[in-house]
């Protein structure tokens, strides 16, 4: 029967996913050596054998935390705890080209708080396009949008357009809280930009274009969110299956139930 020490080490190494048998064997040997020496030391202090082993395992640390810390860098990194780093990174905190997580930082980032070139999330900050409840970026679209071009329920920007808006120029309909320029005083480049994005819904022909733009944003949001969510769910399912195939409970289960 598998000992509790083996179960602990199996858990650490299943999460670590080292992918090199020689390396895995060396790490297992080193951790086992540590735990056996610790158990011996605790027995010398007066702990009964079984209790000494449990105490040694407890002081060694959560196998999931250690396993994830042992995990080498990889292209696709999916974690249920800690920080994921990879080309595609998925985890509570994720840093990658495509990052999905509670806090996601990447070229394309999606999450509770997302920071990137393109960012989608509750709070999103992007160099190019930010979409979210609170969105900040060159082009921001959201409940509260702040950006060079901001579109949203409440928009603040160089060009701000929305339910309530304030900015250098607030073209079109909605409640204008403050606008530095008026239609007459706005410089030509602002007019060009506004036409480019069809933001001035009061202008003939632009209302339809504006609606097309907002529809496009909504669809883009849906498609990207759908893709990212599918990717996230698919990869997390794969990780769960991998752990199960190694006889491990999915990460997140109580580690004390070894």
């Amino acid at each position: 029967m598998e000992s509790i020490l083996d179960r602990y080490l199996n858990r650490v190494l299943a999460v670590a996913d080292l992918r090199e048998p020689a390396r895995e064997s060396q790490v297992r040997q080193e951790l086992r050596d540590h735990l056996e020496q610790k158990t011996e030391a605790l027995r010398a202090e007066g702990y009964p054998e079984a209790e000494a082993l449990l105490k040694a395992i407890e002081t060694h640390g959560n196998p999931v935390v250690i396993g994830y810390r042992l995990r080498p860098w990889r292209l696709i990194d999916v974690r249920m705890q800690g920080t994921a780093r990879g080309v595609i990174a998925i985890g509570p905190r994720a840093y990658g080209v495509v990052a999905i997580g509670g806090l996601a930082i990447g070229l394309v980032a999606m999450g509770g708080a997302a920071i990137g070139l393109l960012a989608f999330g509750g709070f999103s900050l992007a160099l190019l396009l930010a979409v979210g409840g609170l969105a900040g970026g060159l082009f921001a679209y959201g409940g509260l949008a702040v950006g060079a071009v901001a579109l949203g329920g409440f928009a603040i920007g160089v060009i701000a357009c929305g339910g309530s808006a304030l900015g250098l120029w607030v073209p079109g309909a909605g409640q204008v809280l403050w606008s530095y320029f008026t239609d007459q005083t706005a410089p030509q480049w602002l007019h060009h930009l506004t036409s480019l994005f069809s933001l001035d819904v009061s202008m003939p022909g632009q209302r339809q274009s504006f609606m097309r733009l907002t529809n496009l944003m909504v669809w883009l949001n849906f498609v990207l969110l759908g893709l990212m969510l599918s990717l996230q769910l698919g990869l997390m399912r794969r990780e769960r299956k991998r752990l199960q195939s190694l006889g491990q409970q999915p990460v997140g289960a109580d580690w004390c139930s070894l």
Binding site: Q37, K38, G61
Partner: protein
């Protein structure tokens, strides 16, 4: 001595390992024991968290590792500080010395009521 905050310690685990290994090559368990005696609380997340740090330092060339036989005939991995590790340690110490100096200047310039008060039992 006041308990150091985890975030202060986290960034300096490598430096502490390097400094500990200056005393000579050592293996994981003995290293942890040594660190726990000198710097209580450093491995608050568990003694096993030292191994990912050791492997990372080995990969970075800060540490060299070799396998030795124990008296019981088992293999044990010993770590020793590499030349790059000595250099990194010296640089870190310089940084700390400079930071300490800055903090000391700030501390001296603080009005009396903002200076830390020793805790009473």
């Amino acid at each position: 001595m006041p308990q150091l905050a985890k975030k202060t310690l986290d960034g300096n685990v490598e430096t502490i390992i390097l400094a500990t290994l200056l005393e000579g090559p050592n293996y994981g368990y003995a290293l942890v024991k040594d660190i726990n005696e000198k710097h209580a609380g450093l491995l608050a997340l568990g003694e096993g968290t030292i191994y990912p740090v050791l492997y990372r330092m080995e990969e970075k060339g800060l540490l060299l590792a070799e396998t030795r036989q124990t008296p019981a005939g088992r293999e044990r991995k010993y770590y020793r500080i590499a030349p790059a590790g000595r250099k990194a340690l010296a640089e870190n110490m310089q940084q700390w010395a400079a930071l300490t100096q800055v903090m000391e200047t700030i501390r001296k310039s603080l009005p009396p009521q903002t200076k830390p008060v020793p805790k009473t039992a």
